[in-house]
């Protein structure tokens, strides 16, 4: 079986741990879970032609005073950049995370995730998607609206990054 390192990065409290919990255990806890440092999870992902063992690194969310530990990003085969749909600034910070990611892994594929979409109205969804596309449309192929709470877009998002990691 082929193993791949997937990193989740994004601002503090954007819902990275909840997304992993939803994907890995298919469960969700309403209690806000803050990540400290890094937490490793494993998920066997069944793709169309192959099976992948995803080692998912849930990296502590960055803040203005404490940036993300870039060491954890080294060697990542794929990345999930997470923004909080209810906090616009977290979407803006995605550019910084992408730069950090590609500093040592220039070709690492990634997806952009706008989480907590269950808290957004249809209009807000439309607005934030447009903003994300306008900001990162030229560097990212896939932008997902996800909800760790409802599970919306989570499975698809993970399968997409898994497929991209495996290449064409």
């Amino acid at each position: 079986m082929i193993s791949r390192k997937i990193v989740l990065i994004g601002d503090f409290a954007t819902g990275k741990t909840s997304l992993i919990r939803r994907f890995v255990d298919n469960q969700f806890s309403d209690t806000y879970l803050s990540t400290i440092g890094v937490k490793i999870s494993k998920k066997i992902i069944q793709l169309e032609n192959t099976t992948l063992q995803g080692m998912i690194w849930d990296i502590e969310g960055g803040t203005e005073t404490k940036p993300v530990n870039k060491t954890y990003l080294i060697g990542a085969h794929g990345a999930i950049l997470v923004a909080d749909g209810t906090r616009y600034e977290t979407l803006e910070h995605i550019a910084m995370y992408r730069t950090l990611l590609h500093k040592n892994n220039a070709k690492t594929p990634f997806v952009l995730v706008i989480n907590k979409c269950d808290c957004l109205s249809d209009e807000a969804r439309h607005t934030i998607t447009e903003k994300a596309t306008s900001m990162y449309g030229d560097v990212v192929k896939n932008i997902f609206l996800t909800s760790a709470k409802t599970g919306e877009g989570v499975e698809e998002m993970f399968l997409t990054i898994a497929s991209e990691m495996m290449g064409p």
Partner: protein, 587 residues
């Protein structure tokens, strides 16, 4: 000459320092190589020739350095020992104390020994950048969990610490030892991978070197594979590595003093183990017996309510107790006989006073009941006997009578049969008796079974009196004749004394003459008391036959012989026949 040299040296010294200083700035490598080729042999030669001098010269520098490393090593050792001592109340501490006492080796020495007893539980080779596990091997005792998760986490922790160290120090250093409790992770990096060895205690220098050597050999061989590792654990190199690591960690652990294979056989150790095993077995055996005996006691108490104890006296088990109830003796014997210790456990039971009284009372009652029953039985028996008597005695009397009757009948029958036999053979037996009795008597005629005294010439001519001298002979014969006939008396009709005469003279006279002679003869016989009183007397009759049957010899009458007496008898054939018929009819 010496002065010139000193001058030259003085001039050169002035410029040499400047030349060296300039070369060090412009061509440091060239200067280094030039000096190395000169200085190294000189130093080597100097050390070889003046060792003590050189040591004295270098000690201030080297001594301090050596002291530093030695102090570091001792510090590490002390830390290990301190950790062991901290386990002051742990099981290991007491095990160590016991081992020290038994083996005679001090606890400190054992501690020192233990400090070098690190075992490798698992080995991981991890891709440095991604933190993905390339290959791993672990022992059965290890409890690593999911190796991929552990590899990633260890990698993350290592990265975190490295990152922290780098941010606080100018030089780039890498974490090598991570310890938690007794467990230690020894980390060694090389190229694109690093190795993590999971140990059960801190590795010493020698062990680290050994692991590093192994790791170096692995990196050397699989460098290309490591660089191009794509996360695929199906690659054959992954399995080869796993096998290599497993072999290494097993062989490494076996080399350790606590490993499964010790280097040398220690007879004292094995003797101690055997002794302890035997002791343990014995204690277990004794405990089992103690338990079984307790169970046996409980079973007795449960089933009888009696309190008993099983005591061990000089290797023999005795079941003791004072019973309240005598019947429990048997129950306890049954319980014992069914237990596997039936042969090993003896019985020493006694009966309490109350129990004895109860037993006596019960026996008394039992005896009384038996007595009563016996009396009833006796009465019944007597009644039956009386009934039987009444029934049997008459029948018995009847039977006896019948038996007597039968006996009589039988006797009678036999008697009659005998009589019949006698009757049928009477004549023949009589004749035989006569023949036998008179076999030598010249006057006995066998043909007629009569006595004929003709040859005796008993009468003279014309005389009625017999010749006296000849009479005794006739009387003796007649007496004997009567004696032989006497048993047959009932069947004899008569005994005739017949008298015959010669033919001379008158026939009538001769008739009278013979009648007289016969009577005279009888008279003469009756003079003998035996004849006179004989039972045969009534049967004796006389008869004169006259001259009817004279004795003829050679055609002429023997006159003397014709005057003769004959005695004969006549059987009562009618009576005999009548009796025979009578008996035959009865038969």
């Amino acid at each position: 000459m010496q002065e010139k040299d000193e001058e030259t040296i003085s001039i050169l010294s002035r410029y040499l320092a400047q030349i060296i200083s300039k070369s060090a700035t412009q061509d440091p490598n060239g200067l280094e190589q030039a000096l190395q080729s000169i200085i190294s042999p000189v130093i080597a030669k100097e050390i070889s020739e003046n060792k003590e001098k050189m040591i004295d010269a270098l000690y201030p520098i080297m001594g301090g350095m050596i002291s530093k490393y030695v102090a570091q090593a001792i510090k590490e050792l002390m830390e290990t020992i301190n950790k062991k001592i901290e386990q002051g109340f742990s099981v290991e501490r007491y095990k160590r104390k016991l081992k020290a006492k038994l083996s005679g080796v001090s606890e400190t020495e054992l501690l020192l020994e233990e400090s070098a007893d690190a075992h490798i539980l698992a080995m991981f080779i991890i891709h440095k950048e991604s933190g993905l596990l390339i290959s791993e091997a672990h022992t059965e005792e290890s409890n690593i969990g999911d190796p991929h998760m552990v590899a990633s986490m260890a990698s993350a922790i290592k990265d975190f610490i490295n990152d922290w160290i780098s941010s606080n120090k100018a030089e780039k250093e890498e974490v090598q030892i991570l310890s938690y409790g007794k467990d230690t992770l020894y980390i060694e990096s090389a190229g694109s991978v690093y190795l993590i060895a999971f140990l059960d205690s801190d590795p010493d220098y020698e062990m680290r070197s050994d692991i590093n050597d192994f790791f170096a050999s692995v990196v050397k061989r699989y460098a290309d594979f490591f660089q191009s590792f794509n996360g695929d654990d199906a690659a054959k190199e992954v399995h080869e590595l796993s096998k290599k690591m497993y072999t290494y960690l097993i062989s490494h652990n076996d080399r350790q003093p606590d490993g499964n294979n010790t280097k040398s056989f220690n007879p004292a150790k094995w003797g101690l183990i055997l002794l302890l095993s035997a002791l343990l077995f014995y204690v277990g055996y004794r405990l089992k017996i103690y338990y079984d005996m307790s169970m046996l006691e409980n079973r007795v108490t449960e089933q009888t309510g009696e309190i008993v104890t099983i005591q061990n006296k000089e290797g023999h088990y005795i079941l003791k107790g004072i019973l309240k109830e005598a019947s429990h003796f048997k129950t306890i014997q049954n319980i014992l006989s069914q237990s596997p210790y039936a042969k090993e456990v003896g019985v020493d039971l006694s009966l309490s006073v109350g129990g004895v009284e109860k037993l006596i009372q019960r026996q008394k009652k039992k005896l009384e009941a038996q007595k009563e029953m016996l009396l009833k039985l006796d009465n019944a028996y007597q009644n039956d006997l009386q009934t039987l008597k009444h029934q049997i005695v008459p029948e018995l009397d009847t039977l006896k009578k019948e038996q007597t009757q039968l006996k009589k009948s039988l006797e009678s029958y036999k008697n009659e049969k005998r009589k019949l036999q006698q009757l049928m053979e009477l004549e023949k037996n009589l004749y035989l008796a006569l023949d036998h009795a008179f076999a030598n008597n010249p006057y006995y005629e066998k043909r007629t079974h009569s006595l004929n005294f003709a040859p005796l010439h008993l009468f003279e001519e014309g005389k009625v009196e017999p010749i006296g001298t000849k009479l005794p002979l006739v009387t003796a014969s007649f007496k004997k004749y009567l004696h032989v006939l006497s048993p047959y008396k009932p069947y004899i009709k008569r005994i005739l004394i017949l008298s015959f005469s010669d033919t001379k003279g008158n026939a009538a006279h001769n008739q009278l003459l013979t009648e007289k002679r016969a009577k005279n003869m009888l008279s003469y016989f009756l003079k003998d008391p035996a004849i006179a009183h004989s039972s045969m007397r009534p049967l004796i009759q006389t008869k004169g036959e006259g001259e009817k049957l004279p004795v003829i010899v050679n055609g002429q009458e023997d006159m003397n012989a014709s005057r003769r007496i004959e005695i004969q008898f006549t059987l009562d054939h009618d009576k005999i026949n009548s009796m025979i018929n009578h008996y035959l009819e009865k038969q």
